[in-house]
Symmetry: C2
Subunit: 80 residues, 2 copies
Amino acid sequence: MMTASDKQLATNVAQALRQRRVDSGLTLEGLASRAGLHRTSLGLIERGERHLTLASAKRLADALGCSLWELVKDAEDAAG
Amino acid sequence: MMTASDKQLATNVAQALRQRRVDSGLTLEGLASRAGLHRTSLGLIERGERHLTLASAKRLADALGCSLWELVKDAEDAAG
């Protein structure tokens, strides 16, 4: 189960992901394919409705050409 | 299933976690308790044998008094 703070983190990571995806000119399908994830999974992730493992988050960061820590920092900075 | 690169990430995160835990003077039990995780789970995590969700990693970072991105950066820097 997600606690409120887990949900907040998921929302912030989702926003950071979507922002970097859009900035990279990638569609949801394009990023999912590059990262080896299902389009449906990535959709849930981008809506903050799915727990991400560090391993999946790393795959997404790789596919976006950034470090995982940069993606996480975006998310934590957004949290203020 | 963990791929080789997932396993490498888990190993690097495990090392970064253990280093910060030891630097904080916390035992495995102490950190597990602070982070609201089972001692056994944390033991598996510190051996790189368990997938960490971002949410659990965040709880551990909070318990260690650092940002999640700092913990992830430690792990990625260790990966070289």
